[in-house]
Subunit: 333 residues, 2 copies
DNA sequence: AACAAATTTGTAAGCGCTTACATTGAGGAG
DNA sequence: CTCCTCAATGTAAGCGCTTACAAATTTGTT
């Protein structure tokens, strides 16, 4: 593997000059530039990014922490962030935190040790204080899908309360009066916000909220099944079921079908997130769009603007609004 | 950010000693080790991975090229590879090639420029010659889901021909005589292999293969829909449809349903890959398991063994066998 | 107690780059 | 022709580590 030294020798110039043509930031005469470029080409020279980073204190890479490397939601997020950043010559280093405090922490430390120029975090398990300390530590950080008190400028979130409200409102508008709910784990902010929205919609419509009509799941498909089975036993005659995410909605659909319900004529189901596969379900799932694509894009633009001085083509916004995606699982009553 | 120099000063030892306790590879007395560790802790020292890499010529990171960052197939692959490697203290740097020769090439060059210790490639677009040159260039490389002639030792593949055979055989065993096929883009080896298996199963059963019974898709859902619509017009009375992947099977199911077919009583459908969402489809898709998980794991173990001298817990194998996953879309005739 | 061997620690030379600063050489002004 | 300016290039000091080798210290022997 050729080094800059060999290139400089082949071209008959100094190291510094080779560096200059590589980075294109200082004046180099046309003639020497040509010589250097020829030398590079003939040696098959490839700069050592590690050495560049060490010397320049810039890695041109941004760290991305996701909870999992699989699943539609994170797939979307990774794709989007990578797309925007790569277009601008920056690279993404992806790590997974698995919704575990220790592992998230390690993952973030790893990204820091790789000297990423910035971090984009979908961190669910680490504490607010840790995130605040991180921001204070000077490394540019943005947080996706989580609102940390004094860090408004760094957070990009969807209005989960509003989304939960919209889901239930949609059911109410379709004539449903008895609406069950399968929530996510309520210690998670997004889960409890969505449930709060559900309650608000109920109240606004003059319907009374009843504890027994909600089942607390864990955002995974299986808990959607469990939830449906449970609700069916304990709660009579509900005609609509709002689920706090699409995975659980899918599980609930399976359980409902097994119990002999036709969807949507006998039971309406509404999901949340609008992940890719919600379209593949049968019937196609009516859900709330979680603009993860837009958030990822925005986070990437924020980084470009704040870290690399590349102006964002769109104004930076921090709060995203969800919307109803009407498909086939919500029936009119 | 503290440096090794500050630690050495605080601990009252030399740089080298600090380095030694960090790496734990040379003898250091208990007392000095303690001093150094205390100094590290009190300074919140975090080694600069970039500098370590430059000096040691080891990055402890392996590059992973996938075609896309989203989708179940690649999600599985990334998760598995990361899991195995992280357990052994190695990190994964993920890039996407988007099935485009130029972009795959760039992605690989990026990984090389980051001085990854090894590369795990799901490369679909670059040439065999390029891959051979890469292997020759001394950087440890493994190739997933693609067989390159002289590179047996570096390739991990599923027996696609056999998988195609099994899919069609399953339909035949269930009593089907007229079987349609939606293939992937035939310039791709896996797609043509699967089709070859299909033909062999037909032949073995004494059924004649007919060009008009196959539609060439592109592995995406929409081409499954198109394929179904096309076949339905041009081909009469087929009772089973084998699709070269699950996405297309999903599309075909949608189109079939729209055309009024009941699955599986009127039309059986078989997919390929057994990606996560195949379980969410309704009816649940009968498919061929593509052991991407096992391949990813094996590739990671290969790297651990060949690059880091960590013995693989399982024997290294290069050819993986697919298997039928019986669910609900294949009906008996 | 004296010395060799074994163990622990220190010294300093890189790893492949970037960049502040110094040098060189043209071209223009007087 | 001399002096100055400015653009182009070179020099060399790091960036924060690892590691061969040398030096110092400890341990074991007799």
């Amino acid at each position: 593997m050729a080094t800059i030294y060999q290139v400089s020798e082949a071209a008959g110039v100094s190291l510094a000059t080779v560096s200059r043509v590589m980075n294109g930031n200082a004046k180099v005469s046309e003639r020497t530039r040509k010589k250097v470029e020829d030398a590079m080409a003939s040696l098959g020279y490839q700069p050592n990014a590690i050495a560049q980073s060490l010397a320049s204190n810039r890695t041109n890479s941004v760290g991305l922490l996701v909870s999992e490397l699989h699943g539609s939601y994170f797939g979307d997020l990774m794709s989007t962030v990578e797309h925007v950043l790569k277009q601008n010559g920056k690279h993404v280093i992806i790590t997974a935190g698995h919704v575990d405090e220790k592992r998230e922490h390690e993952a973030i430390e790893f990204l820091k040790s790789r000297r990423c120029d910035a971090l984009i975090l979908h961190a669910e398990a680490v504490s607010d204080d840790y995130l605040k300390a991180l921001v204070d530590s000077k490394i540019p950080v943005v947080v996706i899908n989580r609102k940390v008190d004094t860090l408004d400028e760094n957070c990009f979130v969807v209005d989960n309360e509003r989304g939960g409200y919209m889901a239930t409102k949609a059911a109410i508008d379709a004539g449903h009066k008895k609406i069950a709910y399968i929530s996510g784990p309520l210690f998670k902010k997004d889960a409890s916000d969505r449930l709060a929205g559900h309650k608000r919609a109920l109240q606004e419509a003059g319907l009374t909220f009843d504890e027994t009509s909600v089942f607390e799941g864990d955002f995974h498909e299986s808990s959607g099944q469990e939830g449906m089975q449970h609700l069916q036993k304990t709660l009579s005659d509900f005609t609509a079921l709002v689920c706090a995410n699409d995975e659980m909605a899918s599980g609930a659909m399976t359980a409902a079908r097994e119990a002999g319900f036709d969807i949507p004529s006998q039971l309406s189901i509404i999901g949340f997130d609008n992940v890719l596969f919600s379209r593949y379900l049968y019937p196609k799932l009516t859900t709330i769009n979680n603009p993860i694509h837009a958030m990822g894009e925005m986070a990437a633009y924020w980084v470009l603007q704040h870290v690399y001085d590349i102006k964002s083509p769109i104004p930076i916004e921090h709060l995203f609004v969800p919307e109803v995606v009407n498909r086939d699982t919500l029936g009119k009553l």
